[in-house]
Structure formats: structure tokens, C-alpha cells
């Protein structure tokens, strides 16, 4: 099978199965192909074929040797804006900017500050663990192709949260095909204010009990670049570089996750989240091995 883009239709799937079945190409030597599914059923079909015949499936846009690559940009539908619950459900191939545009038509706002690249596919951002506080539920495909959605209920207590394996999970416990994100009302009266004093001032703000909508703490140079590309007034930036550890994350991040004063929407993932990582990685690997014993899922493309 040639290394090129395919739109998935039955003949292509048949060819894929055929290729996987053939002895020289079976198992780990699966064909290097990029598929661009446009439905969840198609994602499911590829996974189920790969699972049955020992192929490996990754997510990306360019071919990878020995891996069937799923290009999820075809999953670009915005399925629903639920204005009543302030939620939007969008395919993994949608860009956060497109989702935000669709939400704003309903008078709602998607906080793009959570995304490092608002013009890259949502699925990539979620696989990297970005925007976790915005995620309400996800729809994902398991290694054998079964597609499911995590329960759509706020702060449920029905056991551990499987989302933890999917958001930030690099598509290795399941391939995220769709997500429901939290929105908020557009507030026309919102104003940015500049807070000289950097992290210290921000910390004071956080413990003041004053309600605030979001805050950004950035290194000065980066702030200028970001502000130039946004409609935020140029003086709305703290002048000090952050004194708080950024823990390997981009310097620019929304500090609306700071503490409760920013509201329940922002409660997940605080500013000092994590800390001593401890030996979490082996536990994660063990869980992935049990979920995907045949190692069908190859993860996101490098």
C-alpha cells in the first residue's frame, strides 16, 4: 500500500485489511499509511482491523514507518452548542479557534488561553493534556475500535475518572475523537487591568477573595508578542517575569486556574498543581499495557 493520504471508504478499508493479512506486511510491519477518517465509525473500523491483524495505529498527519497513521483533521464537525449547559461538543479535528467562533454565535466564549496553539487540532491539544480544565467529557476509541463517551454529568462520583488516561494521554489508552468543552458567557463589561508586581501581586489577588475572570502572567517579551496579536490593551501585563515555577509548561499560560475565586469552571488544575511527580510514569505504562495488551496504539506522531 502506498504512503499517501486516503479518505476512508470501504474499498480502502478492505485494502487495509488485506494488507494487514498478507504475511509479509502483517504484524509490526504494517503498512505506513495516513488515513483521514471523517466519522467515528471509520476510526473504529481502522482500529478494529489493526487490532485483529496486529497493526499499530498512531495519530498524526505524516507517515510513520510501520504505523497506520490516523489524520483526525477530518473529524471537524461541531456537533452541538448546548447553550443551556454552556457546553460545546466538537470533533478532534476542529481547531479551538473554530470552536470559539461557533460558540460566540451563541453568545458564549471558549477560553482560548488554555491552548498553546489555537489553530492546531483540538485532538492534539487534548492528547498533550492542554485545556484539561475545560474538558467536560470526551469520546474516544479503544484499541479494538469500541467507541465510547465518558459520562456527561458534572462532577460525578461514579468511580475514578477515565478522562485522566485520555486527556494528556497521547492517544495511547484510547484515541480521542471528540470532546465536550466548557464555555462561559461573553461578558461585554469585562476589563483587563494591569497589575505591576508580577507573581507576588497575582498571589495577593488570588487570596483576596475578589472575583476575577481570568489573569495572564507572562514574561515581558512574550507578553508583548502575544498582546500584539490580540485585542488586549498593551498595558495589561505584569512587568516582572514569573517567579513561580512553570514546571515545564509554556511561560504563557492562563492563571485563571489560580484558585477558586476564578470560579468553579477553573477549579481543575491549579497553579501549583503537581509538584513532586513521583514515579507516576511506570504506573501509567502498566495501565496502558493492560488496556492495550497488543500495543495497537502507537500514540501521537512525534
Amino acid at each position: 500500500m502506498a504512503t499517501r493520504d486516503y479518505t476512508l471508504d470501504q474499498p480502502v478499508l478492505d485494502t487495509l485489511e488485506q494488507a494487514l493479512r498478507e504475511p509479509p506486511l502483517s504484524g509490526r510491519a504494517a503498512p505506513s499509511s495516513v488515513f483521514r477518517p471523517s466519522t467515528h465509525d471509520e476510526v473504529s473500523a481502522v482500529l478494529s482491523a489493526a487490532d485483529r491483524f496486529g497493526g499499530r495505529v498512531g495519530v498524526g498527519t505524516s507517515p510513520v514507518e510501520g504505523v497506520i497513521v490516523l489524520d483526525l483533521t477530518g473529524l471537524a464537525a461541531i456537533r452541538e452548542v448546548d447553550g443551556t449547559s454552556q457546553l460545546v461538543t466538537a470533533g478532534a479535528g476542529c481547531t479551538p479557534r473554530a470552536i470559539a467562533a461557533s460558540a460566540s454565535a451563541s453568545g458564549l466564549e471558549l477560553d482560548l488561553g488554555y491552548f498553546a496553539e489555537p489553530d492546531a487540532p483540538l485532538g492534539d491539544a487534548l492528547a498533550r493534556g492542554e485545556a484539561a480544565p475545560l474538558v467536560f467529557s470526551v469520546r474516544a476509541a479503544l484499541p479494538d475500535g469500541a467507541v465510547f463517551e465518558t459520562p456527561r454529568a458534572p462532577r460525578r462520583a461514579s468511580g475514578p475518572a477515565p478522562e485522566a488516561l485520555l486527556v494528556g494521554g497521547d492517544h495511547r489508552a484510547g484515541i480521542v475523537v471528540e470532546a465536550t468543552l466548557r464555555l462561559r458567557e461573553v461578558d461585554p463589561s469585562a476589563r483587563w487591568v494591569s497589575l505591576p508586581g508580577g507573581a507576588g501581586r497575582l498571589r495577593l489577588l488570588a487570596r483576596s477573595g475578589v472575583r476575577w475572570r481570568s489573569a495572564a502572567l507572562t514574561a515581558e517579551g512574550e507578553a508583548r508578542a502575544l498582546l500584539a496579536a490580540s485585542d488586549v490593551p498593551a498595558d495589561a501585563v505584569a512587568s516582572e517575569a514569573p517567579a513561580l515555577p512553570t514546571r515545564g509548561r509554556p511561560v504563557f499560560r492562563r492563571w485563571s486556574t489560580l484558585t477558586a475565586p476564578a470560579g468553579p469552571l477553573d477549579l481543575h488544575g491549579g497553579w501549583v498543581r503537581g509538584g513532586h511527580a513521583g514515579p507516576a510514569a511506570p504506573w501509567l505504562e502498566k495501565a496502558r499495557a493492560a488496556i492495550d495488551p497488543r500495543r495497537t496504539l502507537a500514540g501521537g506522531a512525534p
Partner: protein, 515 residues
């Protein structure tokens, strides 16, 4: 229990901390799950006693206890304070119950980052009092705060009365330290992309024993304010609550009582269970006089219940009116509380709420921990009473409420309040009660009510649990709620506890095809 294991347990924690007496085995056979009471009514006071109860005093002892239980293939059941209401600590396969309440230190308060680290066995109120003395609050106030532990909260995904402002326990936890089934210690964090805490939070002792946790804290609020409003209908009340939350206000307390609960909501009772308990007991004890204008109503209600005439009581309740009481509260800096209360007042009265003044809220505040321990009295009178807290988005919440009412009304008295609200939805807290003369028939009725409730909730797109967890009581619903996603949770269980000795039989249903 084999004596080599017993010797090992005694070596690990000391002889005085291994208990096998009848009293202990009965006490630790049950938590506050109502089914324990139904079994008791059938002459079975301790259907699932543990073989032994241990009281470790250190994390190292917990590590050693894990190793011992694993080596001897004996179930190990972490135990906080036994206030769980889903059977989470019931040792259905025997084994060793491990009560962690001797690990009760507040380890550190970080004034810079506003964090507290405490051991898992600390009782909730003790933790709050220690924080209060230092000028902070955790913001977590379950009604059971006097009789539940930090570890139990995390293990069961607890929610406090102020969850609209501070979130539930999963929102507060920054790090959690766990003795994994094989005895390894894992402290969660998210530096490698995935934070494993959300898998351990809500694991109810099935994936390890929580020994300590670090949580966010907040400066002690300077001021509080409460106010009650009456709405013409449940729908208008729900609309107002949604507008309050989505409009950006951050009330700490939002409690909307449905019409029946509004009628029964007595000034000195916070807990629906209390109302039912007294009604039933009054019905059973005709001679006793209770002063006050509610006594007669309670007696009538109790008598009707005693006759098993729940559907009639529901109809009377519906006929008594459709109006609903909403209680809201704010806390924080005085200036912010005042401004927020003014904004809420304008919004709620603008949406049709009749201002009922401070009274309802202040009374609620005064009695907020008057939790009901009258459950067994209700059962002794031949009735059952249970509560179920379910969750749904705003677009599904009213439908879930109606479907459950419709399904349950013919069989049991039912009332509800909406007590945990967020921007995207909230929780409904149902209380059910019914009566049958025959204990076995009572259990059958109880099963039916639960079955019909769960079916209605899931059909309408809700979750069967908002803050009580799963335990034994809801585990059969997990397949339907999670679908094929349950396989992720089975995978985690298989990977981390391959011998399946940690609190077996809880949370996850027995293995079935969930494709």
C-alpha cells in the same frame, strides 16, 4: 483466619491494634449503607463481618499490611470513618478491615501557596478546626463532616455544602499520596502529562490506600450572608439557579427544594432524613406528643407511611402547592459578599423569586451538620429511607428529576432538593421512603425503587452518583453509565492490583463484555 497472617498482623501494628472480638466484627461489617439495615431487619445484624480489624499508626505499617494481605491472598479494605452510604467498606469477601484513623496529623500548612497537607485519617471537622485556627478554610463541608475522614472524602469523591464556590474534593486535591496495592508509594503529580490523581480519587480503596493528601485552602471568609426566595414552580427556581451560576456569581450555598420538600422543610430540620424519620416514628408511636404545628402533619404523614401509602402521600404533597424554596449564601470579603448579595437579589427577584429574608438561610446554617442518625429508627418501624444524589447537565436536569419522580412516586414517598450547582449542571438529592410489613417485601420494594431510579437517571442522560460514590450499591450501574469506557477502569485495576485483593467487589461490576 489463618494464624500465620494473624501473627504477622500483630507483628506489624502491635497486638492491641488487631481486633477480632464480636463487637468489632459486627461494627465493621457495615457502614451507613441502608441495605445493612434491611439485613438487620431480617435478623442478620452482620451479614459480612471482617476476619480482623487493624488500626495502623504509620504509613510504613500500611505498607507492611498490604504486603501481608497480598502474601496471604486476603482482602484488605481501607476504612475511614464508615460514614459511606454505598457499602464501600462492607467486607463482602471477609478479610482485613484497615481503619486508618490513627493517621490523623495535619502535616503542614503552606502559607505561600495556600496548601495544606494532612494525613488521610484525620476527621473532617478536626482538619477544618486546625485550619480555622490558622486563619484558613478548606471550603469542604459535607453534612457528615463530624464523622468522615479526609481519606474517605477523596476515596469516594465527596462533595460539601459549599461545592458551588469551592468545588468538590477532586477540585481541591493537588497531590495525593497512596500506598499502592503491592506496597509501593505513589505520590501523584502531572509533570509527565498525565495526572494520575483523578484515577485514585474515587477509587474507593480498590486501587490502594491513601495515606495523605495536599489540598488547596482559602483565607477564612470575613463575612457570610444568606437569603431565602420562593419561586412559583420548580422550573422557575431552576432557571434562577442556572442564571445565578452562569451569570458569574459565586454563591457558596445554593439549595433549591422541590415543592414537596419545601412543604416538609421544617425550620429546625436540615436533613430530609430527619423529617421522614420523625414522621415515621410519630406514626409508630401514636401516644407521644410533639409540640409545634408540624407535629400533627408529621403524625399524619407517618401514619400514611405506616400504611404503606406512599403514592397517596406524594399526591397530597403535590396538591399542597408547587412553590419552591431557594436558599443562597455568599462568603468572602465583606465588600464582595455585600455586592454579590445585592446582585443576586436583583437577579433572583427579577426572575420571579419572592424575597423571604435571611431567616431560611440562617436556619439552614445553624443546623447544617445536624445529620440524621435516626435511620435505624425508621427501619425499626418497618420502613426504609434512603437518599440518592445524581447529577446531570442543565439541559437534562429537569428531565432527570421528572423521570425519577414518575418512576418512584407509585411506590415510595419521594422528595428532592438541588444542592450542588455549577455552570454546566448540578445534582439532585432525592430522599425516598416506604413501608412494608414483611422485611423481605420491604427489601424487594427497596430494590425496585432503586432499580427504577437508576434506570430513569441513565435513560435521561444523568450520572447515578454525584458525591456518595459507588461502593456496592451502585456498581451494577457502572457498565451502563461508562459503556465501553469501563474497560479503561478494568485495565487500571488489572494493572495495579492484579491479585484483586484491594477492597474486592466494589466500584466495578463483575467482569462483563462492555463493548
Amino acid at each position: 483466619m489463618a494464624s500465620p497472617l494473624l501473627i504477622e498482623l500483630e507483628r506489624i501494628v502491635g497486638k492491641e491494634y488487631v481486633r477480632r472480638g464480636e463487637a468489632e466484627r459486627i461494627a465493621y461489617s457495615a457502614d451507613m449503607w441502608p441495605r445493612n439495615q434491611l439485613w438487620k431487619l431480617q435478623g442478620d445484624p452482620a451479614r459480612h463481618p471482617p476476619d480482623a480489624v487493624v488500626h495502623p499508626g504509620t504509613e510504613a505499617e500500611i505498607v507492611a499490611l498490604h504486603a501481608a494481605a497480598l502474601k496471604h491472598s486476603v482482602p484488605l479494605i481501607p476504612y475511614g470513618a464508615g460514614s459511606g452510604v454505598c457499602g464501600g467498606t462492607v467486607p463482602i469477601r471477609g478479610g482485613v478491615v484497615m481503619d486508618v484513623r490513627r493517621l490523623r496529623r495535619l502535616i503542614a500548612v503552606d502559607d505561600h501557596d495556600l496548601l495544606v497537607t494532612a494525613e488521610a485519617g484525620i476527621i473532617g471537622m478536626h482538619l477544618e478546626e486546625e485550619l480555622d485556627a490558622r486563619g484558613y478554610t478548606l471550603g469542604h463541608f459535607p453534612s457528615s463532616i463530624l464523622c468522615s475522614t479526609l481519606g474517605g472524602w477523596i476515596a469516594a469523591r465527596s462533595g460539601g455544602q459549599y461545592s458551588s464556590k469551592y468545588g468538590k474534593i477532586e477540585d481541591m486535591v493537588v497531590r495525593v499520596r497512596v500506598v499502592m496495592p503491592g506496597g509501593e508509594i505513589l505520590e501523584t503529580g502531572c509533570e509527565d502529562g498525565v495526572d494520575l490523581a483523578p484515577l485514585l480519587i474515587g477509587s474507593e480503596g480498590t486501587l490502594g490506600t491513601i495515606t495523605s493528601a495536599t489540598l488547596r485552602i482559602h483565607p477564612k471568609p470575613e463575612a457570610k450572608a444568606f437569603r431565602g426566595y420562593r419561586f412559583q414552580s420548580l422550573d422557575s427556581g431552576l432557571r434562577a439557579v442556572r442564571a445565578l451560576l452562569q451569570g458569574g456569581l459565586q454563591p457558596c450555598l445554593v439549595r433549591l427544594y422541590d415543592p414537596f420538600d419545601t412543604v416538609l422543610h421544617r425550620s429546625d430540620k436540615d436533613h430530609d432524613l430527619d423529617v421522614v424519620a420523625e414522621a415515621v416514628s410519630e406514626g409508630g408511636r401514636q401516644g407521644r406528643q410533639t409540640p409545634g404545628r408540624f407535629a400533627a402533619a408529621a403524625k399524619r404523614l407517618g401514619t400514611a407511611l405506616a400504611l404503606g401509602n406512599a403514592s397517596w402521600v406524594n399526591r397530597i404533597g403535590a396538591a399542597l402547592g408547587q412553590s419552591c424554596l431557594l436558599v443562597v449564601g455568599f462568603e468572602g470579603p465583606r465588600s464582595v459578599v455585600d455586592a454579590d448579595m445585592r446582585a443576586a437579589q436583583a437577579l433572583l427577584t427579577g426572575l420571579g423569586g419572592a424575597d423571604g429574608g435571611e431567616g431560611p438561610g440562617l436556619r439552614w446554617f445553624e443546623h447544617r451538620y445536624h445529620v440524621s442518625f435516626k435511620q435505624s429508627g425508621v427501619y425499626d418501624a418497618g420502613a426504609f429511607v434512603d437518599t440518592l444524589e445524581v447529577a446531570a447537565t442543565w439541559s437534562r436536569l429537569a428531565a432527570v428529576y421528572r423521570a425519577v419522580r414518575e418512576a418512584v412516586s407509585p411506590h415510595a414517598l419521594i422528595m428532592a432538593h438541588f444542592s450542588h450547582s455549577y455552570r454546566e449542571g448540578g445534582s439532585i438529592y432525592f430522599t425516598f421512603a416506604a413501608h412494608r410489613r414483611d422485611p423481605k417485601a420491604l427489601e424487594r420494594l427497596y430494590d425496585r425503587v432503586l432499580h427504577d431510579t437508576f434506570a430513569a437517571v441513565l435513560r435521561e442522560g444523568g450520572s447515578v452518583s454525584h458525591h456518595h460514590g459507588v461502593g456496592l450499591g451502585k456498581r451494577e450501574q457502572m457498565a451502563r453509565e461508562h459503556g465501553a469506557g469501563l474497560r479503561l477502569l478494568y485495565g487500571v485495576k488489572d494493572a495495579w492490583d492484579p491479585q484483586a485483593f484491594m477492597n474486592p467487589g466494589k466500584v466495578l461490576p463483575d467482569r462483563a463484555v462492555t463493548k
